[in-house]
Symmetry: C2
Subunit: 247 residues, 2 copies
């Protein structure tokens, strides 16, 4: 069944109001009619089966038939702190990371980033990534939309690691300690931060600062992954370790 995310405020008791681009999708692309059903998620973990009641050009109204069990979110929360990559690679990272189960993306300006974070384009880019996350979440049947944070410096990232139980940094220079070693040593963390360097990797000084801030460098094995692949793969392995990738 087709899924749509709405703001929590769009759900009032039994009534759901869908606005924005989804109206066109419901009425023109799928040509739905009254009494057709969709799944509506509030983006913070709740999902409902909804029967459409009124289909207008500006909004679509519906009536909640039942609240659904929401089982598609991983118990372990993963924040992907991504050194800002070139071109449109961040689009791919947000899309694929959302499919795998990342709950938050943080674009981070690091010393070897080839592009610098552009404050002027900030809002437009975040809106774009947030839209990609929403669409990927709908497609992946997630019940939460991952959030995309405001661009930050590496130093700002390190100053904001308090909320994580575990911070791991895949790093080419780490040869001994593997991702699996670290995950198996740390029980059932609730919130893991994965820090991924940009194309040029993480600078030595950054690794030292990350270590001092409590982050743990790990190897992802002997094959060197591109920046847009490493976070996705680390997130998939974390979900696998904690039984969130099927059994």
């Amino acid at each position: 069944m087709q899924r749509y995310f709405v703001e929590p405020e769009a759900i009032q008791q039994e009534t759901v109001t869908i606005t924005g681009d989804d109206v066109k999708h419901i009425t023109r692309v799928l040509r739905m009619e009254a009494e057709d059903e969709v799944i509506v998620c509030d983006g913070v973990g709740h999902a409902y089966r909804v029967e459409l009641t009124e289909l207008g050009s500006e909004q679509v109204a519906g009536r909640i038939i039942e609240k659904l069990d929401t089982t598609s979110e991983a118990r372990v929360k993963i924040t992907l702190a991504q050194g800002l990559p070139k071109g449109d690679k961040m689009d791919l990272i947000v899309q694929k990371g959302t499919e795998v189960g990342v709950s938050r993306f943080l674009p981070v300006e690091m010393s070897r980033c080839i592009v610098q974070y552009d404050q002027k384009k900030e809002q437009k880019r975040r809106e774009r990534w947030q839209k990609i996350a929403k669409e990927a979440a709908e497609q992946a049947h997630r019940t939460m939309i991952p959030s995309v944070g405001i661009g930050m410096t590496f130093k700002q990232l390190l100053n904001n690691l308090d909320g994580f139980d575990l911070v791991i940094v895949p790093y080419e220079g780490e040869k001994a300690r593997g991702l699996r070693d670290v995950l198996q040593e740390h029980g059932q963390p609730e919130h893991i931060c994965v820090v991924i360097g940009p194309e040029g990797g993480i600078a030595d000084g950054e690794i030292e600062a990350a270590l001092a801030a409590g982050a743990i460098p790990v190897t992802l094995g002997s094959r060197i992954m591109r920046t847009e692949t490493a976070g996705l793969v680390a997130a998939a392995c974390i979900c696998y370790q904690f039984g969130e990738m099927g059994g």
Copy 2:
């Protein structure tokens, strides 16, 4: 150090001959000179440190300094049988699959494929995918280039499963048996085949035929991944399970 793949015949005793596009890369892009060193891999698992001796416009010759320990290949071999996806998604699948550690790609025509496998374009497409695999293997520091098989039908695939210890099919309809359950039940398989449906998924009849041929349907969890994501994620989890993703 820069890596290049050559055909095994290009290595004769102490001498290595590099031809093709890599000559331009060595001489014009990197502007290397005699006595500079590169790593040369024969694509079937051997790697050498090589000192360049003669740099011509058509070929570059070098002398083997030492044979390197080749540790970047996973012990478990993974063949990714991929339902042919739309557009250029197969490019992404080959590139990212190579980074993660897939050893063979098989493009498979399945009943819900939107594109049909075009015999006329066969050679050109395979050359393109093979080139992507070579470049990704160099970048990922692999010592083997994954091979890209000739396009086949689903029936042909099922007739050719004898060489695998384990054939798994991530499938939306499978709710109970997870990838991890199956991997943990099967000891140390040497060669695993992962079968991924195209955008529309695997048809019911195909699942039945796959089951009859000994394949095992699995769930990858409650988040629904796109066709180009599922194989990469399954391969990453297989590598993780068998200690090939760092420890």
